[in-house]
């Protein structure tokens, strides 16, 4: 806001006006005592601004008034604004010209109320009242009652006065800086500045006793700046006005304050709202809103014909949040009701909803994650437990299978053992003869070795069949190979039962990942089950066929088909249920164990009837790799 330099200078009488930086002027209301009779039209209010429309102090105060009036009358009011530009054109000619011009302009629309903002406007309307606004009520605002007295305004003019209390500002500083030991008061060299200093001395007489007090006056701007940079940290600085320094340089006070505050080593306070944003921490000031409201209320009372009298615009404590932060002052120490300006909302204030929501989501997620982790651990434990149970059941099943196959296994063992015995006895006989055939003896010994190996193989297979697992022994193997070794175990039993056992082996490798012993057990279960199914069936041929293939879906399949009676269609699904059995001696566990094993390795098992008779059981396992 480039201000009002000239104007202010001029007005230095109570210059505080200027101090205010420009603000308002009181206006006189001429209004003769009688209340107004406004008939058939909305009331007219003329607002006089002392300067041009760029001067923020008066403009904003005027806006506050307009807003208040429009609100209170619901828009039923005619508002007029005139910018007198008296700071740039202070000459009497301009004032006279302006008076004539406005008198002519408003000849047909005489205002009912004139609001004169600032001292200059107040003077102007006092001088031109008769021509411009005869009969109108005059209200002045924006300066102190003492200034008004000096101006000698007409008696019926009422004012909304602003009083500047440096003591209140000082007290606010004391609250904010309870530890301060020094007090500095800054004032300029103009007449106004000096009178302000004198007023301050009187106002602060008691307050300053608690401090080591220094008045910085009669200095050049450079001296002000330098002194301010050397202040002890525990100092309170009160800035009054500097319209002029010792060298006679003119300043807009707040510009001077700004220059000083930039290098100051202690917080600066001032009684003017316009100092805010120019480096001061704050002070007790009249806000534009406060002023506007006071003026507007007086105008409304006047329009309503109510008795009116002078009023004082209430003051507020105002602080610049950035300055509080700069000096490390706690906002908690501000007087109650203090207004903080330029306060950056904290992250929390700005985003509290989003933050709460985010935290809630994170908490919820965390809870869910923890829950899932716990759940997973429990599931792991349960799975481990269940796997161990399965392994135990499988082992029981292995033992049962071994028992069922014991007759054929004994037979298989008896063959080589019988051969060994006969060979050995034959050798003994031959050796007793006169001319023993040593070549034959040698052949016999070779055969004995081979049969011994055979017997050993049978026992190994038996061991493999009974191998107990504490944990699954994962390995990759060819499904064809396991099928072949299962067939070796089954062959004797099939012979014993008069079952023709045949195998169709896939032409390619079928690598699967599982526990070999378990997969073999599945084959044995299915095969013995199939042989049992053919036990009492009168057929031309009992045939058990084991076939391995690669399915279209690239999985390894093993099918075991028999020529038994088949399975009733309605029971196809339930054959894998535990304790399902049709055999008087069956436990009903073989097939359910087979399914449990197959599913453990990610496979599937199902039963079907063959169109040519008999049942077929199929096991499908995923390939360990495509190769």
């Amino acid at each position: 806001m480039g201000l009002v330099r000239n104007w202010t200078m001029r007005s230095c009488r109570l210059g505080w006006l200027a101090a205010f930086c420009c603000m308002f002027l009181g206006v006189v209301a001429a209004a003769p005592s009688m209340s107004m009779e406004i008939v058939g039209r909305v009331p007219r209010v003329l607002i006089l601004y002392p300067y041009d429309e760029r001067i923020a102090a008066t403009t904003e105060a005027g806006e506050a008034v307009r807003t208040r009036l429009l609100d209170a009358t619901k828009g039923k009011i005619d508002l007029f604004s005139e910018f007198l530009d008296l700071s740039r054109f202070p000459e009497a000619e301009h004032v006279g010209r302006m008076g004539r011009y406005l008198s002519a302009k408003y000849a047909d629309r005489r205002p009912d109320v004139v609001l004169a903002l600032g001292e200059e406007s107040a003077r102007f309307i006092s001088a031109n009242r008769k021509n411009l606004a005869d009969g109108a009520r005059i209200i002045v605002a924006g300066f102190s009652s003492s200034t008004a007295e000096e101006m000698d305004l007409p008696g019926d003019v009422i004012g909304a006065f602003s009083e500047f209390h440096i003591l209140k500002t000082a007290e606010m500083a004391r609250e904010l800086q309870p530890e301060a030991r020094h007090l500095f008061i800054i004032g300029g060299s103009s007449e106004f500045d000096r009178s302000w200093l004198a007023t301050a001395r009187a106002d602060l007489a008691a307050f300053s006793k608690s401090y080591e007090t220094t008045y910085l006056e009669d200095l050049t701007i450079d001296e002000f700046t330098r002194r301010a940079a050397e202040l002890p940290r525990d100092s309170i600085v009160l800035a009054l006005t500097i319209f002029k320094d010792r060298d006679g340089r003119n300043f807009i006070p707040r510009e001077a304050v700004k220059q000083i505050s930039e290098t100051a080593s202690a917080p600066i306070y001032g009684p003017y709202l316009t100092y805010i944003d120019y480096g001061v921490v704050g002070g007790s000031v009249v806000t534009f809103e406060s002023l506007g409201k006071t003026v507007a209320d007086l105008a409304l009372d006047a329009l309503a014909g109510k008795p009116t009298s002078n009023r004082e615009s209430p003051q507020s404590y105002v602080a610049d949040a950035r300055e509080l932060q700069r000096w490390g002052l706690s906002e908690k120490n501000l007087p109650p009701g203090a207004i903080q300006m330029f306060k950056e909302p904290t992250f929390w204030e700005q985003y509290w909803l989003a933050t709460v929501a985010a935290l809630a989501i994170i908490t919820a997620q965390g809870t869910v994650i923890v829950g899932l982790l716990v759940e997973r651990r429990r599931r792991r434990a349960a799975e481990t437990e269940s796997r161990h149970r399965l392994l135990e059941v499988v082992h029981l099943n292995q033992s049962a299978t071994a028992g069922a196959l014991s007759a054929s296994i004994a037979h298989e063992l008896n063959q080589p053992l019988g051969a060994i015995r006969s060979n050995a006895e034959a050798a003994a006989v031959i050796l007793r003869s006169e001319r023993p055939d040593l070549e034959l003896i040698e052949q016999i010994l070779v055969d004995i070795q081979n049969d011994d190996q055979r017997a050993h193989d049978v026992i190994s297979r038996m061991r493999g069949l009974l191998k107990k697992r504490g944990e699954i022994d994962w390995q990759e193997f060819d499904l064809n190979d396991v099928t072949t070794s299962a067939i070796r175990i089954l062959r004797g039993e099939a012979e014993r039962r008069g079952v023709v056992l045949s195998a169709n082996r896939a032409p390619r490798e079928l690598p699967v990942r599982a526990d070999r012993v378990h997969v073999q057990q599945v084959i044995l279960n299915l095969a013995t089950n199939a042989m049992d199914a053919m036990l009492d069936v009168v057929t031309t041929e009992r045939r058990l066929t084991l076939e391995t293939t690669l399915t279209k879906e690239s999985k390894a399949e093993l099918s075991i088909s028999d020529t038994g009676r088949g399975i009733p269609d309605e029971q196809l699904a339930s054959v894998f249920e535990p304790f399902y059995t049709t055999k008087p001696t069956g436990t009903g566990l073989g097939l359910s164990i087979a399914r449990a094993i197959v599913e453990t390795y990610g496979g599937k098992i199902w039963a079907a009837n063959r169109p040519e008779g008999g049942a077929v059981f199929r096991v499908v396992l995923p390939l360990a790799r495509n190769g």
Partner: protein
Amino acid sequence: MKQLEPVVHIVDDDPSFRTAVGRLLSASGFRVALYESGDQFLAQLPNGEPGCVLLDLGLPGLSGLELQERLAEKAPLVPIVFLTGQGDIKASVRAMKAGAEDFLEKPASREALLEAVERALRRGETQRLEQDRKHALRARLGNLTPREREVFGLIVRGKLNKQIAHALGTSERTVKAHRHNVMEKLGARSLAETVSIAERLGLVDPSADQLQR
């Protein structure tokens, strides 16, 4: 008879076992022949040779019991010794009822094996002698005239000459002459011997005769 050494036929699908048993019997002085299946044995069925069969009860294909049935028709004079695994009681009982000579449980000791084989061969020999005698008697029976056969039939039923003459409508003297011829042709020196021959040939049912009386 003595010109032919008896042969022990070993039928077992297990080559190793078959060979070993064959070696043992061979070393013990027997002629042996080895077969891997019942079908092979039937195809090469010995003709009239003395011998016995060592038969695996659990043969694949044509089973031991089926082979036993076939042999009963085709070579009734060849005794069978079954070799069985343990605990195959049901099949063993069936084999026994069908006339199996002996059972050997695998693995059998040499003594048990030789004893069983010799017993079988002896029995086979006995059966063979009996068979031969029957053949000879039948040949003699063939020498009788139809009239003499009638007379023979009546004599062995204990009829007196007079009764025979009456039955045949001839004289007692003629009957006496026939009777003499019959006994001479059959080589019987007494009435008792003549009856015995008739019995052996299965021409007389003594119990039926008693009932007639």
